[in-house]
């Protein structure tokens, strides 16, 4: 559809809308009552419930970030993919790193496995378990596991 045609259709719809609205506005009801079906939630509406697994996610992401230092780029890239999929809370920082990078990558498989063991949401369990397997594959490919 060309933009010109789209504009013409839009104008026609606007015209129809005005034609429908006009009699209502002229009636005894106020126009604002009739034309504003979307209302703000009442002030007492509670906030959306927090994800019960969020602490598991954030702790895991902190461990992944902590394993970045000194690791080959293939591992760091894999970490990025896993972190993005886990959707952590904004501002999660890396856990303190210690030991050689190889040891940290191996420990990460254990961390991901343990996190999958603690998680409640089946989708998160699947994600963490598969991430552990992805990490193990990369280690195995380098002869480290």
């Amino acid at each position: 559809m060309t933009s010109e045609r789209a504009l013409r259709m839009l104008s026609r719809r606007t015209a129809v809308g005005v034609a429908v609205v006009a009699p209502l506005a002229a009636s005894a009801c106020s126009a604002s009552e009739m034309l504003d079906p979307v209302k703000a939630p009442p002030p007492s509406t509670p906030p959306a419930p927090a994800n019960p697994d969020q602490s598991v996610i954030d702790a895991t992401v902190a461990a992944i970030l902590g394993a970045d230092e000194g690791a080959p780029s293939a591992f760091v890239q894999l970490h990025r993919v896993h972190i993005e999929a886990l959707a952590p809370t904004k501002g999660v920082t890396a856990a303190p790193a210690s030991g050689r990078w190889q040891e940290r990558q191996l420990a990460l498989v254990t961390t991901l496995t343990a996190a999958a063991g603690r998680a409640a949401d089946p989708q998160l369990i699947t994600l963490l378990a598969s991430a552990a397997a992805g990490q193990q594959q990369l280690l195995h490919g380098r002869g480290l596991a």
Partner: protein
């Protein structure tokens, strides 16, 4: 036995049934592979076979610990097609490991506690074995 424990043991039993099948198929594939003319494939199949036997034992031990009789193997399993060449045998073994990985991943959320941990550990082993059979690493194996 609670429902959660029952579901967890059922997941182990399903994994055990997969291992019985994998051991049978890998035995058949290994029997068709020459260690002289295809040493790398023969070694990969032998390692995979040993790994699956270890997995079977670990799973059976968990099932017995839950007070349940482990599922028994069938007398015979269907073999994959096109296993008349080294390439065909390698492809069939890789497919088996990919299927095993996917099965473990689907079973892990159904298990709890140490049963789930075991399933994920075996999932990781299956994913790693794929590389020995020519697969490339993936960010999320089994999905």
């Amino acid at each position: 036995m609670t429902t959660a424990t029952s579901a967890s043991t059922e997941a182990l039993q399903a994994a055990l049934a997969v291992e019985h099948s994998a051991i049978y198929v890998l035995g058949a594939l290994g029997g068709r592979t020459s260690a002289t003319s295809s040493p790398a494939l023969a070694r990969a199949l032998t390692d995979a076979y040993d790994d699956h036997v270890n997995a079977r034992e670990a799973l059976a031990a968990h099932v017995v610990a839950a007070g349940i009789e482990p599922v028994a193997p069938s007398a015979v399993y269907d073999l994959p097609g096109r296993i008349g060449s080294e390439a065909g045998i390698g492809a069939a073994a890789l497919q088996l490991e990919q299927d095993t990985t996917a099965t473990y991943l689907s079973l892990a959320p159904k298990a709890t506690g140490t049963d789930r941990t075991l399933l994920i550990r075996l999932l990781c082993r299956a994913a790693a074995r794929q590389l020995d059979l020519g697969a490339k690493p993936r960010a999320f194996p089994g999905t």
